[in-house]
């Protein structure tokens, strides 16, 4: 029997405990697949005394997690600490410097420091793997890095945040408003006490920036992701979209081309007949469009301890298999860091799209004329318009419309013309419509 692959596990929250449960439950199967045992040798977390529902007695305990990679009884460090910097980053750096492989579920760290870590891993010829950082249990990093590697990927997009998708599909099913559903999701443990990263689109932006790099062969560029979240959506928006043949989903979308790198996280109107319209609850789904493969769709649980552990241990099996023969796994982002292109962020003004624009306006004569005049002057052509009765807000009425396809700059210009108008009780909300 080949030597076991010896694992240090840093961070023993829900997902860290899930990794332990998986390694124990599927031990024999993993050994058959990996060609050798995968064995957790040492664990570390902030608080040793906390009860975690798993038996830690078989493993050594290390107080100083940052030095885990320097231990002789460790081949791979699994980082489940979280946070883009701090102990997670320190641990990642020391592990790779020590010539050990790193497996992480930490999207924030990879979005911010992935290039640095990948460069260090290349120099040390060790693996850096982060399947669990994007889309939970769905092996989408592998699918893009390897499965679709023969293709120029033209576009990658999807539903990358299970919390937002749970909230949106619950709003859709129940007609309730955002704040109400969020509070329930927090009570059920589907949303965190501080939900900012999820509901403001930052978590999805982290994941999108990682997907972009792997799909396009570009440098990770989290800073240029234009992210907006779901906090401004009203039940009435979802109802309007529905009456027009759409559901609303938070979509992360990236394209690479002559214009540069386009990356945006935004709620989109998704036509009923699009596969993403059927993705409900905490499910994630990623679509990649390759120049030979055509459209590929990957769907599954986007979070949770089981799915995340599945992705982490898949990375470990890859490492165990490959290092049996003394090989290496290849670069973290599908090509060496030096080969990754530094694409400038794409300007979005000339993007052609259809948009949903929702105004909350004062209920008095002339407001609709003012809005439609601004749209006309900016060259925005209206496909359909719905004015509803009072939305419950003091005196405010909702006017929602869908535009014909046109440049995004025209919509921006129309909003600029209306900026500061006393007729608008809040800034307009613009959502794009997901095309074919």
């Amino acid at each position: 029997m080949a030597e076991p692959l010896k694992i240090a596990l840093a961070g023993l929250g829900t997902v860290g405990a899930g990794v332990i449960r998986l390694v124990e439950a599927n031990r024999a199967l993993i050994e058959r697949r990996a060609g050798r045992p995968i064995q957790i040798t040492v664990v570390s977390a902030r608080d040793r005394s906390k009860s975690r529902g798993v038996d830690l007695s078989p493993y050594a305990w290390e107080d100083d997690m940052v030095i885990l990679g320097e231990r002789d009884d460790v081949d791979v460090v699994v980082e489940m600490v979280g946070g883009s910097d701090g102990p997670a980053l320190a641990l990642a750096r020391t592990t790779i410097e020590a010539g050990k492989a790193l497996v992480t579920a930490n999207k924030a760290m990879i979005a911010h420091h992935g290039l640095e870590l990948a460069g260090k891993a290349e120099a040390k010829r060790v693996a850096l793997k982060f399947e669990a950082a994007v889309a939970g249990g769905i092996p989408v990093i592998k699918a893009l890095r390897e499965g679709a590697a023969a293709n120029a990927i033209e576009r990658v997009y999807g539903i990358l945040n299970g919390t937002c998708n749970y909230i949106l599909s619950t709003m859709e099913d129940t007609g309730r408003d955002f704040a109400d559903v969020l509070a329930e999701a927090q009570a059920l443990g589907y949303a965190e006490a501080d939900p900012t990263f999820d509901v403001e689109g930052i978590d999805a932006a982290h994941k999108l920036s990682i997907l972009s790099a792997v799909a396009f062969g570009t440098k990770v560029d989290f800073a240029s992701v234009a992210a907006s979240g779901i906090t401004r959506l009203r039940a009435a928006d979802i109802a309007q979209a529905h009456s027009l043949g759409y559901v609303i989903r938070l979509i992360g979308m990236a394209e690479a081309g002559a214009d540069g790198l386009f990356q945006r996280v935004q709620p989109h109107l998704v036509p009923f007949d699009h596969p993403l319209a059927h993705v409900d609850g905490a499910t994630n789904a990623v679509v990649a469009e390759g120049n030979f493969s055509g459209r590929l769709l990957f769907q599954g649980a986007g979070a949770g301890d089981g799915p995340t552990a599945s992705a982490v241990v898949a990375d470990l099996i890859d490492i165990a298999r490959t290092t049996v023969g003394g090989g290496e796994l290849g670069p973290a982002f599908s090509m060496p860091v030096a080969e990754l292109e530094a694409l400038a962020p794409a300007a979005t003004g000339h993007r052609q799209s259809r948009a949903y624009i929702r105004f909350m306006v004062a209920d008095r004569p002339g407001v609709l004329a003012e809005i439609t005049a601004a749209l006309r002057d900016a060259g925005v052509s209206i496909e359909s318009l719905i004015q509803k009765g009072r939305a419950g807000d003091a005196g405010a009425v909702m006017v929602a419309m869908v535009t014909h396809e046109g440049p995004e700059s025209a919509v921006s210009e129309a909003l600029r013309l209306l900026d500061g108008s006393p007729s608008l009780s809040e800034p307009p909300l613009v959502l794009h419509i997901l095309g074919e």
Copy 2:
């Protein structure tokens, strides 16, 4: 720059030509991802003079394709000849014997001889890869072999034949009958002149037997797949199913457990709200249920030269990457042949399911009483029953029903009781209903 990976291409049909087009079109990108060039050095096919729409002048020509693997200018042979035996198998054997890697899109050969070839490849420590053999451009072999490798897979099922799915979804959209739609599909090139392998479920059975082995760690067992096709379906079946809330899809389904290995290809009734109900046209989709990942869905183009070439070249990139470091890719079926379990075929009688049963009966008094009595005597409980007017056949009337959940043996017993009855104008058609 590292040495190119030198490729021999055997078989220059549509898909072989697609591989050439992909390797040429994405040459620079492939080199960045693979870490070295992938270079076709020699090609072979039955007829050298045939025009194929691609320029073969850059490549050497080999008349005797079986010796391609023995040439010094070849590291990997890509087999696109087809057929379970004959030249394809001879080529596969000589290639591996010569210590060269084999990449194939040949599902029939892998279903019949995959274990032998995988054993030989292990002995020679060369790669045997067949991503393109199942579900075209969808990297589902990789997803099961690697992406979901940490999981005990409990069930794998999906839409594995694009021709059947095209025919079924066209029947559904147009209300036309099978023979009519098949003829059109043949005229359009979506179905072969001899469609037997597709419409009788044999092609899907080949693919299912390969998926089973990779998912469950069992020996490939094509012989035990119970396969039926779509030839007996009528437009009226599809209409009935629709009125009950279902579409009909040809589903390949496999489960491994204490009962043994269950493998069946059969048209199923799929509830409208199941993801597979939205898979239309020539698209394929595979669902895998892992004990930690939960349900994973992979969807994309199941055939065609572009998607198939995408899968073939992904295999080549894997080989190019891994052998840079002198490593190996690991076993073809995710674990060594000696580790694969030989599971007996599962008995199906006690499987609990709901079934759609359709009778074509003589239009005279007492027939319905005869059928319902047989079902009662066999213990089959009827959930809903529809008797339609004349189906167009001389004197025959259609009686369709959906049963409550019960053992499959009860339905078999009911049909046995009715066997030979002069009231039935053809054998009853039984389709199972896809559960959650």
